[in-house]
Symmetry: C2
Subunit: 289 residues, 2 copies
């Protein structure tokens, strides 16, 4: 999808939040706001929102002199969600359809998103109630059919913390006999997005091959991806794309992608025909099956 004008005030807010995560110095906060404001008249709208976000975060990180202001928040989210792992594994195992429950958990985990102002404070109750959470858009039957025929799954990760639930879903995919699963992380830290270190911290490397996107974009921007990712992308039988960023960057593609996300802003909610906060499992047209 292209960037909407609505995204621009939101980017400005995100830059301020990132500056505040790095420092209490209000002069620096103001400098970040002013510098991002000065970029606005030049911002193109015919690119996806994560491509604009990437430029804005790069500028912000340069001004604040910190290329990972959410490091501590990410680490806390990973730790906190990891503590829930045994309980939620049990909930999945005890459920009537473990794959569906694991999908819902992976979507509920997408509530952890510092770009949209969510935090891991209220996440415990969100993920605990995930097994009974309704899906506003559910292509689960198509997803299950696709998985049953898939040897290779490409799993495009999103945020730290959330990755604990991605691990639970990946473990279910193995039970469904998916042989090879590649989990894509960002090349460098951006917002609270998953990097290789986060993936290893929660043990994702034990259940999937961890591969870097080759880019610091908070999404999967194919033109910026490494040749390895592009090979995996075209080779995969099923692609799972987590979060709004991946939806924004890949919703125009024709691959066998299933988007797992919470709708977090008015623009994406409107495009999906759902309410903010709704849980989405959505395949896109062009499924190979």
């Amino acid at each position: 999808m292209n960037t909407y004008l609505d995204c621009i005030p939101c980017f400005l807010r995100q830059a301020l939040e990132a500056a505040r995560a790095a420092t209490d110095d209000q002069d620096i906060h103001r400098r970040v706001l002013n510098s991002v404001a000065e970029m606005i008249p030049q911002l193109p709208l015919d690119v996806t929102p994560p491509e604009i976000a990437q430029r804005i975060y790069r500028l912000t990180y340069q001004i604040i002199g910190n290329n990972d202001p959410y490091r501590e928040a990410k680490h806390l989210a990973n730790q906190k969600m990891l503590a829930l792992y045994p309980e939620l594994k049990q909930a999945v195992a005890n459920s009537a359809d473990p794959l569906l429950t694991a999908c819902k958990l992976a979507i509920a985990g997408n509530s952890i998103d510092l770009a949209t102002g969510s935090s891991s404070d209220d996440i415990d109750s969100i993920v605990r109630s995930a097994p009974t959470m309704p899906l506003a858009t559910s292509d689960y039957p198509e997803f299950r059919r696709s998985i049953e025929r898939s040897s290779h799954v490409l799993y495009l990760g999103d945020n730290a913390g959330e990755i604990v639930f991605d691990r639970i879903l990946i473990e279910e995919l193995h039970r469904e006999r998916c042989l090879e699963i590649s989990f894509v992380v960002r090349e460098r830290p951006i917002i609270n997005d998953v990097t290789r270190l986060d993936a290893i911290f929660v043990g994702l490397d034990r259940v999937a091959s961890i591969v870097s996107s080759g880019s610091d974009a908070p999404a999967t921007i194919l033109s910026q991806c490494s040749p390895q990712i592009l090979r995996l992308y075209h080779w995969a039988d099923t692609i799972i794309a987590k979060g709004q960023g991946n939806y924004e960057s890949l919703s125009g593609e024709q691959s066998n992608i299933f988007f797992f996300l919470k709708a977090k802003c008015p623009v994406v909610a409107r495009l999906l025909g759902v309410n903010i906060g709704d849980a989405i499992l959505k395949g896109i047209a062009g499924h190979r099956d």
Copy 2:
């Protein structure tokens, strides 16, 4: 209160909304966003948010070539709320404490605020449930005591639509023997704020003297008010200030003011120690009694 950095992305969003209310021309929307963005580095933070909002709306209205983009929305809100008047008058009359119920109704009516993205669509249920609505901050006992001793009340209005409930409260004030009530409207249209025409449309002129603030600020900025307003302001036994804008512009004053509002943004909610959406009836320090 001074302007917070958080307010700046919000102003940008408001400018875009105002442009969209006036025209579907996306080039104009973009021009508004760019022009407001260019103002940002020069914006002072040591003035109140409504003073910044005033500058931003003036610029926006100049670019869109329309000085009242919310005219239709305001008219609809006035009509819609007026249709509820008989039912809500009855609810007030039948309640155990009609003055308290009328206060709650006037606060619930403050939910109609196009600057913060609220609309009159869901307002029916909000005002209908107002009699049982809890107040997160309640200085109602002090307010009642103040009103019992007041001959002259200055009532600082806020939004179109909402003014129907201000009228109901003013009618209750008359029953409490307040002799003179002056209702302040904006001098010129800004956002969906009440002007003289709105006040007359809902019959406020039959229960109060309508006086203009002398300014197009979306709040009561004393340095911009007419000498008449300043006289009334210093003469009034009790001042009722409706809405966030009036809270933002007058919370630092030492007059006998009671703020009636819904907390609509994170900054004001934090300052008041409440949640977004909470209903507030708050007196400020320095009451004369």
